[in-house]
Symmetry: D2
Subunit: 262 residues, 4 copies
């Protein structure tokens, strides 16, 4: 039941702000994806094999063969959600349904892929003021909280995201954030779609060094392990079953040719 195969992680970043804004470049000189990649390798060592992909690469760096070879994908985007090709969004969604884990970070709440998987608008209140955030643990037994020692952890200066956050009710609510400006937010949320596991994690911003924070890195590493493909195969296609598993009494159908699904 154990495996020595490393988890294959692909970190996707639109990689725009880090190239055109000095303030962001100062914090993430090689891009947010590079910082995240280093953090994952530091945390998980040989348990992971990390690659990165960015918007400006052909097929955004995530052609079908890369997706097929990805166990867990991290997604970071902010200013260029609209530039992601719908065709690639379709492909990522298919892979999630088949079992690929997806970790949507911070402003990825508004990405095409996250909104696609949620079925809602995913919008929220926000404020760019560098205020304090305190993340409270509401699911202490969850593997994503592994290694957190207290009842909460803090980020001294962040962008605020506040409720109402227009997502479906999360299957597991891991963190709720308190902000000094008066808001709260469901900051750590899990969802299952098809065979795939999804984790939305609020912290992170391009002008604050959030992804250099050790606790944030730990949570993301935990989430990568949690979101790894597991369980039985995905049976997601339309499938006409004849003969039945058990003998049945059939009722006459006028025109069976009517029936085609999906």
């Amino acid at each position: 039941m154990t495996t020595s195969q490393p988890l294959r992680v692909t970190i996707w970043n639109e990689f725009v702000h880090e190239r055109n804004k000095d303030a962001v470049k100062a914090i993430y000189p090689d891009g947010i994806h590079a910082t995240l990649a280093q953090a994952l390798v530091r945390q998980l060592g040989e348990q992971v094999q990390v690659r990165t992909a960015t918007l400006d690469e052909p097929q955004h760096g995530i052609p079908d063969d890369v997706l097929a070879a990805t166990d867990v994908m991290l997604w970071w985007g902010h200013s260029a959600h609209d530039q992601v090709a719908d065709e690639r969004v379709d492909a990522v969604q298919r892979r999630v349904l088949e079992g690929m884990g997806l970790i949507a970070l911070h402003s990825a709440h508004a990405s095409k892929i996250f909104r696609r998987l949620m079925g809602t608008g995913c919008m929220l209140r926000w404020r760019e003021a560098g205020e304090k955030e305190r993340l409270w643990i509401t699911a202490p037994g969850h593997p994503i909280t592994e290694g957190l020692e207290g009842e909460f952890f803090e980020l001294p200066a962040t962008e605020m995201y506040g409720e109402f956050f227009d997502i479906p009710s999360p299957e597991e609510l891991i963190f709720i954030s308190w902000f000094s400006g008066g808001e709260v937010f469901r900051s750590g949320c899990t969802f299952r779609r098809g065979r795939g596991k999804i984790f939305y994690f609020r912290p992170g911003h391009e002008t604050f060094p959030i992804y250099h924070d050790a606790t944030v890195q730990r949570v993301i590493a935990n989430a990568v392990r949690w979101a790894a493909p597991s369980g039985s195969p995905y049976f997601g296609q339309s499938r006409n079953i004849e003969p039945p598993l058990e003998p049945i009494q059939r009722t006459h159908l006028a025109d069976p040719s009517l029936h085609r699904h999906g």
Copy 2:
């Protein structure tokens, strides 16, 4: 807190099979939508005001003003899902997020609007054999089960739908079906998206007289009442909040112009 305003219900039907197949015409001479409309009026009387809409009408019969004047929408489609314009799917989704109830019937599992709101493929096993279905109640306190007297109800001859049904985990699981051919199915499922309530109800088919069944009619009428808009307003837009509700200590931001959401 009470209101004498009737619920405004729009029953949408692709209305294809009833016109081009004699077997279907025999069961639903004026279309499935007409049968459902009569049933709702019989069940709910002056509590509802029912209109119908079909695929071949301009804007499929559901232009923005009709959607704006709809509290609960029923959706039936089977062979022409692809002919529904994406622009109308967008509009229906928006209205659901704002609070319109949606009841997806039977083969509407594969409709664009249902798949959009679920974020998954929504496919399933199926068999067209007219076998027996028994629907077990798994949420006895739910308003959608009002008036059902036993632990289950039966349909003598139906199309089978079986698991794995590729939907997100329902928020409330109301019915599980047993089929004589050996399958089970989550046949009554509720979901919330934005401010809107969604009910998926499996029974129904164009070549079986399912929508003439009194219990099926009762469940649909219950669902219409349950799915009616309620509660507080929908705050679903991206909203930048300044000044904050509480005094905060601001951290310098290099370039606030970076930040635009949604």
Copy 3:
């Protein structure tokens, strides 16, 4: 489908602090139950028929015949949870499973009946400092939020309750509280147990006039309507089913006398 029968509401209060502490008596001279009863009648008029019951009455004022004639029960207790007889807790639990709604208010988080129905410890962080609370709506379409106009409502001075709140994951999370002292809390939570609906609502305290607040009163009135019995009957007993609904192939059993359930 409509009924002119009023909802029969029983408000239970331990009624201790209001008699032995002047500070509490000043706010609730006739007891918290009396204030709640007046508020419900003002909000719901002839839709409800309200009675009250207190700890010091025979059988705590809730003998079986009172329970049998109660559709929704409100529960308030703080200092005398241990004085509630287990036998009455058993009786209330049975009635909830059969369909009676239960609204647990504030410090009722630690009551025997709430802990019984949750299966957990239900403890929390708290602070008695009269700080500000802001309740954010996280389920805008829910009937319990009916009539609330904004994204949140506020209480200027309250006792603080903070996470981790040791409850099972709520089925619907209606409110999350922000406290000026730095905590958050899941303040409006629904649960189903058997055929009964349960709402936990955090606001309320004996030394703050929380139950005189119009919004708090509105939420409680909404909850009473939401928690009313509905749906199909409760089949909760152990039941041996012979003959089976469908013909089966029986496998020989060595000793059927072994098997008795529950």
Copy 4:
């Protein structure tokens, strides 16, 4: 993040039928616990360290030190639920809240500990006829389904359990059973209580060789791994927090001595 420590598993069995009924002794000569222990060791090898405990031992074989040294507990009981001391039930519940996993097998649905953790009656329909059961997977990505290759698995002859099963809505529904006699059942259900994970698994009976089935053994082994303690510590006690984390404006309290929780 990895550990070489084996999971400490305690298998609890009331161990009554295997001693007083020849039919049961023939299938489980050393008790169901012995069969389960051998299966776990065969499946998980050095990943687990297994001990067993039975009703007739002092403190039912689960004194506090054994509980403290248990990561995951399996529970099997049928005819002697009432003989389990409430004091031991309290102790097991406390350990689950602290993080110990609990796997309740088959007729353990009616055990004191399972009912305590659920807060409901946990009763169901049943029939002792040795009919066919087919378990359908409804959560294909779940670790508990690891290694199952098809859409379902079958047991040729079992006791039937049918809905309505009086449990709270499961957090994850892993299996739904189909029975040839006409019933369905939520056969694999997960719950979180405090920091602990709970899995209810329906298959198993003393007069059918269910626990000799390789797939059943695989699911139980998967569940042991899934239910292992994980995540952050459990903060479950009542805790008065002074001073607050953030500066607050205090409102005068007439008598702070009123307030003591839990």
